[in-house]
């Protein structure tokens, strides 16, 4: 008999006024009892609508059944057939708009906590499994992956499992992409990312850090000189956008990318870090996505007294995950809705001293279907802040498209692919993730990496 509770088992968390002063993980994870209890809420629908909601089609009811039987390692093996990064996805996937959105239990009450269960299973495996993964029999073919982010890691993992000799080329000094430079420690501990990367290495994947494809080596050289038969480009969308308003180059104006890279990749939150960061008192984060929430919550943890999210639409239009918005609110982040900055003010030393904003109101829906914000005339006002973080989105880095002949890109700079398999305009060159879609989610990038791996296998085997 399933557990008919209308609510999910609550996720144990650090208390808001404790966690907003440290960088340790906010959500603590289910206990075995909570996991089993939650697993028993699954009705094991024949049609499995949840699976269709998952970009990598994890066999969700099957793994949940194993959890209910307390066969946690068995549950991991089920997930592992389809996902290379379950400990990551269980934490950062927007389950509410994917698997859990389609859960039948969600019709009346809350859906099954699929993400929380995935996280539990992955953490259980990481804590208990000591066996190294079995290296598959090599098939004699070489594939290069550009970028060690979610798309590249997934593509690499899938190809390695099929026996390919895979080398990942990463521009930074550490593998993980946005998982290490963007998403903060308190949402995704870096030891988890490292563990996933180590698992890939154990499968035989080589990771070459400090290699900027497009500068250190080109795609053509990889294929013509280094003998790679196919290349997957998962270079992400790393180029930050600014507003082009006066004062944007004042000191203590950051792109969210810079702010988060300093905090996460370079560990600027630690006392002993060699990398500096502004320890500001009053911070305005411009934007309403997950990255804006991450930046705001990081600034709070660095000791800011007041942190604002400045967003030009209203609460309902915030693109961030609800869970992140709620966490931010609990931690004392102040939301200034229907507000748009027009100028950043500076003091005599060139540091930020304030932010001029206008009030907005919502007009007719625009192309995105959201109501377009319109400026209210004469509504200018000033905010007293000493740091401004621009979290306005990112676009793909031009380095690869500028250095790879015949690689078609669209007007946004995104690589053009022919649908699901990720084939670009160049034979043997595949792409996926943010480099193709523009800034999106970890799991969509993983889905793209997975499809591309299958397509690359088909391409090489049919040559």
């Amino acid at each position: 008999m399933p557990n008919m509770s209308l609510e999910k088992n609550k996720m144990p968390e650090q208390a808001p006024d404790v966690r907003n002063k440290n960088f340790q993980e906010v959500a603590l994870g289910y206990t075995e009892e909570q996991a089993v209890d939650e697993a028993q809420r699954c009705l094991h629908c024949k049609k499995m609508p949840c699976v269709q909601g998952c970009p990598v089609n994890i066999k969700i009811p099957e793994f949940i059944a194993k959890v209910a039987e307390k066969d946690f390692e068995g549950a991991y093996q089920v997930i592992n057939q389809d996902s290379s990064l379950p400990a990551v996805c269980g934490r950062v996937c927007p389950q509410e708009s994917q698997c859990e959105k389609y859960c039948v239990r969600g019709v009346k009450g809350e859906p099954v906590g699929i993400g929380r269960l995935e996280r539990f299973v992955a953490d259980y495996h990481n804590a208990h499994c000591t066996e190294a993964p079995v290296k598959p029999e090599p098939n004699g073919h070489k594939v290069a992956i550009v970028g060690a982010g979610p798309a590249g890691l997934t593509c690499a993992g899938d190809l390695a499992k099929m026996g390919y000799a895979v080398t990942i080329f990463e521009a930074l000094h550490l593998a993980g992409g946005v998982l290490v430079y963007g998403i903060p420690e308190f949402r995704l501990p870096k030891t988890i990312v490292q563990k996933e990367v180590d698992t890939l290495k154990a499968l035989g994947v080589k990771v070459e850090t400090n290699m900027v494809v497009g500068r250190s080596i080109s795609i053509d050289e990889l294929m013509e000189e280094e003998g790679f038969e196919a290349v997957f480009i998962g270079s992400g969308a790393g180029l930050p956008s600014f507003m082009n308003i006066p004062g944007e180059n004042l000191k203590a104006v950051y792109s969210a990318n810079e702010f988060l890279t300093r905090v996460n990749l370079m560990k600027a939150y630690r006392e002993d870090s060699d990398t500096p960061i502004a320890h500001s008192k009053r911070v305005a984060v411009i934007g309403g996505g997950n990255v804006a929430m991450d930046a705001a919550r990081s600034a709070k943890r660095l000791g800011a007294e007041e942190v604002y999210i400045v967003y030009r639409r209203s609460d309902a239009e915030l693109p961030a995950r609800r869970e992140e918005i709620e966490h931010a609110k609990e931690e004392g982040i102040i939301f200034k809705f229907l507000t748009s900055p027009t100028e950043i003010l500076g003091d005599e030393n060139g540091f930020v001293s304030g932010l001029t904003c206008v009030e907005m109101e919502l007009g007719e829906p625009d192309a995105s279907g959201r109501r377009r914000p319109v400026k209210k005339e004469g509504s200018e006002f000033q905010m007293d802040v000493d740091c401004v973080i621009m979290a306005l989105g990112t676009s793909p880095n031009p380095l690869i498209r500028n250095t790879t002949k015949g690689l078609e890109t669209n007007r946004h700079g995104c690589i053009v692919t022919n649908g699901d398999d990720g084939l670009t305009s160049r034979e043997g060159v595949y792409a996926g993730g943010d480099a193709v879609t523009g800034a999106a989610t970890v799991i969509l990038a993983m889905g793209a990496g997975k499809s591309a791996a299958a397509a690359i296998d088909k391409y090489i085997q049919s040559k």
Partner: protein, 283 residues
């Protein structure tokens, strides 16, 4: 194909400026004058950009010349021949434009001469007439004199205090050359931001195109963080991908100087900590 970033040669050019030749075949294979690398000395180190001073494609090495100005360069200076650097990535940035130039004045200031040298060398090898004006604070910190001599058709050595060469600022030396009737296709100025600002002020009067090499604070060096942004001709540019070379008559130098001072107190504090660690007096 893993590069190991071994230190093959180390030389003290003056008490605060050190040369290192690093094994990095992938960087050496592609490096051109004007480009830079980013390195980390140790596991938890910060990423610092340094312009490539020389490269040897056959040996697979890159030469860097750095001034000890803070914690990281102090730590770097304590690395010896045979030891390894944690990370070394490049070549980054756009190479200096040298093609088609017939006569150029290269102006170098202080440790900026380390960056001016490969540019002068490349121009010389392409048959361009190279006049070089290099300036230092004082005689005891003069670097690369012989190297410059070898690639310059005319070399003016200058010191602020007159202890070596001609007394005065590089702007004075350059102006004298211009006034004596020398006609340059271009002036390439590399040194402290304040020096580049005044060189540009001068060359603007004479309407000579001037290229400067900017060296702002940056993290990734691939266009990701935007920390290195500066205003050029009213537009925001990223030094790491759009530069580091820019048209000096369009650069907002005052803004660049201000941005460069963002972390001064932190850097000072870290430097003192590191000096304590090495039981060394703070410069």
């Amino acid at each position: 194909m893993v590069d190991m970033y071994k230190i093959l040669r180390k030389a003290e050019l003056n008490p605060t400026v050190t040369l290192m030749e690093i094994e990095a075949p992938h960087v050496a294979k592609k490096a051109e004058p004007g480009q830079f690398i980013i390195l980390r000395v140790d596991v938890d180190g910060e990423r610092i950009p340094l312009t490539i001073a020389d490269y040897d494609r056959e040996k697979g090495t890159i030469t860097i010349i750095f001034q000890i100005v803070g914690a990281t360069t102090e730590k770097l200076n304590h690395k010896e021949v045979g030891e390894y650097l944690q990370d070394f990535v490049g070549p980054l940035g756009t190479p200096t434009h040298v093609e088609g130039l017939k006569k150029v004045a290269v102006v170098g200031g202080g440790v900026g001469c380390a960056i001016a040298y490969p540019v002068a060398k490349k121009l010389h090898s392409l048959g361009c007439v190279v006049h070089t004006v290099v300036g230092f604070r004082s005689k005891d910190i003069v670097i690369l004199e012989d190297e410059f001599k070898a690639v310059s058709d005319k070399l003016v050595m200058m010191t602020d205090d007159g202890t070596y060469g001609v007394k005065g600022m590089v702007t004075a030396g350059l102006e004298e050359l211009i006034q004596s009737g020398e006609q340059y296709d271009e002036v390439i100025a590399i040194g402290p931001v304040i020096m580049m600002k005044f060189v540009c002020k001068l060359t603007k009067q004479y309407n000579i195109k001037t290229v400067v090499s900017m060296n702002p604070i940056m993290i990734d060096g691939t266009g990701m963080c935007g920390g290195c942004r500066l205003t050029v001709g009213g537009e925001t540019k990223f030094a790491c991908v759009d530069g580091p070379d820019f048209d000096g008559h369009l650069v907002d130098f005052d803004e660049a100087m201000s941005r460069g001072s963002m972390y001064k107190p932190f850097e000072r504090h870290k430097y003192e900590e590191t000096c304590n660690l090495f039981k060394k007096e703070v410069q």
